[in-house]
């Protein structure tokens, strides 16, 4: 059994098939549950996939090696987000003034709240550094991490927990504050929940998706430029 599994894992095919199957099964499961807004479909798929890997006792590193073939497409897919951004450009330009005022504050707060809470609870500096880029999309967060330090695995975990939490909290917050505007919801999703939030925003609609792409890319760029600088100034 293990020999067969090892053999199947020598090519990326098994890892890719498992990923596709988890995605399909997760979508089916959520549909059966009535598509609850607080649970992004990616969370259901990830739980199923993690369970399957544990059940088959496939090492995550082995799975990841095969799935890297899928993740290679993340680069062109990120570039592809430029298309909805272009298509929604008139709506974005109509809002350039509030966006310009709001984005830097929101980006700074996204990092400051988490670092502040962890610092207050007595976390050591390297953990603070790992938490700071929590709302930044993974490839940019890795670049920031290389500059300010902190354990990479913790930083990646922080990104994922943040993304899933952001999806839940945005849908909760929008309901509490009575916000139905897709532009606002999309922006909040992309700004706080990077790629996971952006995926969720495209489920809501094309306008939300475009504003999430905008929020995600601007958060990434602003953080890449100013987070390492702020870190140095704070002397952490």
């Amino acid at each position: 059994m293990t020999a067969l599994l090892d053999h199947l894992l020598t090519t990326p095919l098994l890892a890719i098939a498992l990923t596709l199957a988890a995605q399909a099964a997760g979508a089916r499961l959520l549909q059966a549950l009535g598509a609850p807004a607080w649970c992004p479909s990616i969370l259901a798929a990830a739980l199923l996939l993690a369970g399957t890997l544990a059940l088959l006792s496939i090492d995550y590193a082995d799975y990841r090696r095969g799935a890297a073939w899928l993740m290679l497409l993340l680069g062109p897919a990120t570039v592809a987000l430029g298309l909805p951004l272009h298509q929604q450009m008139p709506r974005i330009l109509a809002l350039w003034r509030p966006l310009l005022a709001c984005l830097p504050v929101a980006v700074a707060l996204a990092a400051a709240y988490a670092v502040g809470i962890a610092w207050w609870l007595g976390a050591p500096p390297e953990i603070l550094a790992a938490l700071a880029p929590k709302s930044v999309t993974a490839p940019i967060a890795l670049g920031i991490n290389a500059q300010i330090g902190g354990p990479v695995s913790l930083m990646m975990g922080g990104l994922l927990i943040t993304g899933v939490a952001a999806v839940g909290f945005v849908s909760l917050g929008a309901r509490l504050l009575g916000i139905r505007d897709e532009r606002l919801i999309g922006l909040a999703l992309g700004l706080n929940g990077h790629a996971i939030g952006t995926v969720r925003a495209f489920e809501i609609g094309p306008v939300a998706g475009a504003f999430a792409s905008l929020g995600m890319s601007l958060t990434g760029i602003l953080s890449a430029l100013f987070l390492p600088l702020a870190w140095r100034l704070l002397g952490a």
Binding site: H86, C102, A114, L121, L131, P139, L177
Partner: protein
């Protein structure tokens, strides 16, 4: 085959982004630079829009699938949080709750209600 031509456009912008990032040494990802280059290109020139759309739309539709392998990783690195569990989880979840609420409230205040008259739909 518009989708393949479009995919070549995307790869072109990605490689251009990679080149810029490597030359400038900025800690920004090639994908995000490529995204901005593509947006700028479409705005200023608009060449290849149909081809790019044929490749971009299906890719965006499977974005969730593409980030899934990374998301699963979260379940396998929980040991890495050793000892700082409460501080880390409180920071991530509490911090995200606060920043989501601030973002929503701030933007609603600044952006106001959706202007039904000014539609620039694509």
């Amino acid at each position: 085959m518009p989708a393949l031509r479009g995919f070549l456009w995307l790869l072109g912008f990605l490689l251009l982004g990679e080149t810029l990032v490597t030359l400038t040494g900025l800690p920004v990802s090639a994908g995000v630079v490529g995204l901005l280059l593509l947006t700028g290109w479409l705005r200023l020139h608009g060449g290849g829009l149909d081809d790019i759309a044929a490749a971009a739309q299906p890719l965006i539709a499977v974005l969730a699938l593409l980030i899934l392998p990374g998301v699963v990783g979260a379940f396998f690195l929980l040991d890495a949080l050793a000892g700082q569990w409460t501080a880390i989880l409180a920071a991530l979840i509490g911090g995200t709750l606060l920043s989501v609420m601030t973002t929503l409230a701030l933007m609603r205040r600044l952006m106001g209600e959706p202007p039904a008259a000014k539609e620039g739909d694509a």
